[in-house]
Symmetry: C2
């Protein structure tokens, strides 16, 4: 036969009629189809959020892990509670105190990365059809978890000072008028993923008051809070309203992502349900991993390590911003004061999702903006990560990106040489940042 | 005021109106309230399923973990794919081959213990109101996951040769007549938790045929399959019908539970959805843990380790059965040919749930039978685990249990000295085993 025929395996899924309705919201991220190509060494990946690990004291960590297994292996390799090891929960409270949080160890639940905390909170609170408010754009993994529990994410506008309180009020009014039940405000107040912006301190109380007034619980996701480039930290939302904020924390960005140790801090009654949900999800978090983190916090200069990471990331952020200034004068971007990401606005006519395969072919990868919205926005945005490549690679990646942009059909006859458009980002619009 | 007043925190949950409907099915297990007491060293716990770890080569494992971190730490401590490390997935296929399973590494998804696999399968397939069939009794953690996705578990009778095919047919007919949608048969064919029985080989094809005929997917949970006391393995259900069986495996019982490494083997289309669901659940399983398991399988005599475990557990099973024979002549019990558990039937009038606090006061703990049913049955059953205590402790625990039973009010005037009632277990009844 002359026409192309796919294998039956690709076309037919004999289980198709059996899946739960919630699977309709499960979709692969756009970068994934390109993953095999994008992860080749010759490609500069500005797409991922892989943290920098080279500064870790690997020899010391190796010795400690060996000691834990050799001397305490009957504990380290055994089941433990779903709540998490008591000593680690105490240390987590010390870590959170750096951002003003006063949590009790009993209110902490250790999770397999904070992604699991996110998923458990969605499981506890989201009925199908419930609304979750989130920054527009928002963290793609959160959008996935909310979709998995059939909640609808409604985006709230963001400007360069973070979530816009008036936009939050408007979204809540609109949902109320439409008879919708809003369960959560999901927010990343510090060094936001993907936009890079930070919620202004003077807005924090206002955001919390609005949520209180509308009876909406706040889910604060704070993996980057200690990675401010000037060493500054901001008061956690939890510190301002502990009874109405569930807090997600992580060691993935400040220590070691591959250990998968994160946590949730939640009011007592919520915490009890979280532990039950965690038992269903994984029985318990890995014991060895908890002990490794606990030993690291107890014996190593983890504050010094965070200072080192800040310096590494600041240097990379600077390399990214310098390269953007030099190579992408026709674009706009945010200027993150910490964290991993710059959010870039490309010229009119460019579609970052459509351009991605061409970028990968030109040996540079990014995360196209559409993945960070549930409403189809973001086609003129892209997230560039500076956390993993060296400054030289960042510069080279942005240079390649510029040549890809220059070759975009839509721009072939557009005028070049316009100045940076960061000012334009300050306006409030559906794709504000 | 004169009357007793509880703290507001205990009585009032300000978030009570906010939880998702699925949380209604989340309940703490009965043993948990007693956990703090039951885990005291003076209590003989026959309640838990903690595996025996003392035979593990801890020094070698310690050296390997150290080497992985020191020499390959930038990988071991970094994010990886939600699918699982390719090398480990290949090795998992070799492990499964011991029970006749021919899986492709691409069809394997590494999970944070097989509990996570169970939870993800429930997430993929169970809509609220769907029916899941499961042995009666069944694994409490599975009942929890199905409840978390609002599926209703309907129990299928079990006798000393496992799931009863005629009972399965009857349950399916009944569900069909009631207009209910049956999504899964969840089954533990080998050395069942909690009943200890094994699905007879001659029943396996029949069970699979019935499920095929009714369009029901089979979820085969096989954590104990390599722990048969005579070294015998049974053909996995997956080996007989790979397209209609999703298989759950685990290293928790044959290697190290605290690493939380398990897996799902699923037909290709299901596997793709599982990876997406796993990304929402935890982003990826811990990288270091996967590398530790992979290195262990590649370099250590893991088959010899399993042989050692079989001998340890057989000795403990024998100690348990001998003690039951000696101290509990008025009870009936199953005789497991592998695994961790004996299922005990107590005399009429005894309620194992009501008796549990008195047992703990007498320094012995067990899992009362009601926790393994969703329909209120099991009050005359208890699960005794012989996996963790030494033979001497097992004997002492059963002796204590006998004195607790003797003191039960309902038995104070019952006749003593009746012979063992194992024969009675062969009859088919709602609480058949």
């Amino acid at each position: 036969m002359g026409h192309c025929q796919q294998s039956g395996r690709d076309i037919l899924d004999p289980h198709l009629g059996r899946y739960a309705a919630r699977t309709a919201g499960m979709t692969a991220s756009e970068i994934r189809a390109l993953f095999a190509v994008a992860s080749r060494p010759e490609v500069v990946s500005l797409a991922g959020g892989m943290p920098h690990l080279a500064a870790l004291p690997l020899e010391a960590l190796a010795a400690q892990a060996a000691q834990l297994i050799a001397e305490d292996g009957l504990t380290a390799l055994q089941y433990a509670s779903a709540h998490g090891l008591p000593q680690l929960r105490e240390q987590i409270c010390e870590v959170m105190a750096l951002e003003g949080v006063t949590g009790h160890p009993d209110e902490v639940v250790v999770t397999v990365g904070s992604q699991m905390g996110l998923d458990l909170v969605a499981r506890l609170f989201c009925d199908p059809g419930d609304v979750v408010l989130a920054e527009g754009p928002s963290y793609v993994g959160a959008l996935g978890s909310f979709a998995a529990y059939q909640a609808e994410v409604v985006h709230v506008p963001v400007d360069d000072r973070g979530l816009v309180p008036e936009g939050l009020r408007a979204a809540l009014r609109q949902a109320r008028n439409a008879g919708r039940r809003v369960k959560l405000l999901y927010t990343i107040p510090n060094f936001h993923n993907p936009s890079g912006v930070t919620l202004a301190v003077e807005r924090r109380a206002e955001v919390l008051e609005i949520c209180r007034a509308y009876g909406v619980l706040v889910l604060e996701d704070n993996p980057y809070g200690l990675l401010g480039f000037d060493g500054r930290t901001y008061p956690a939302l939890h510190s301002l309203d502990p009874e109405n904020v569930v807090y997600l924390g992580s060691f993935s960005k400040t220590f070691a992502a591959g250990l998968r140790v994160g946590w949730v801090l939640a009011p007592h009654a919520v915490r009890e349900k979280l532990v039950l949900a965690a038992e269903s999800a994984t029985l318990c978090p890995p014991t060895l991993n908890q002990m490794i983190v606990s030993r690291y916090l107890a014996t190593q200069d983890w504050r010094g390590q965070i200072t080192t990471l800040r310096e590494v990331y600041r240097e990379r952020r600077d390399a990214m911003l310098d390269a953007l200034e030099e190579y992408l004068p026709g674009c706009g971007w945010t200027e993150p004061a910490g964290g991993f990401y710059v959010w870039v606005k490309v010229p009119e006519g460019v579609d970052t999702r459509a351009m991605l395969p061409r970028a990968v072919a030109a040996r540079v990868a990014y995360a196209s903006g559409t993945g960070f919205y549930t409403n189809g926005l973001g086609s003129r945005r892209m997230r560039l990560s500076y956390c993993y490549p060296t400054p030289e690679r960042i510069r080279e990646g942005v240079r390649r990106l510029a040549s890809v942009l220059d070759s975009e059909p839509a721009l072939a006859h557009a005028s070049a040489g316009a100045g940076p458009q960061r000012a334009a980002l300050r306006t409030l619009a559906p794709e504000a940042v």
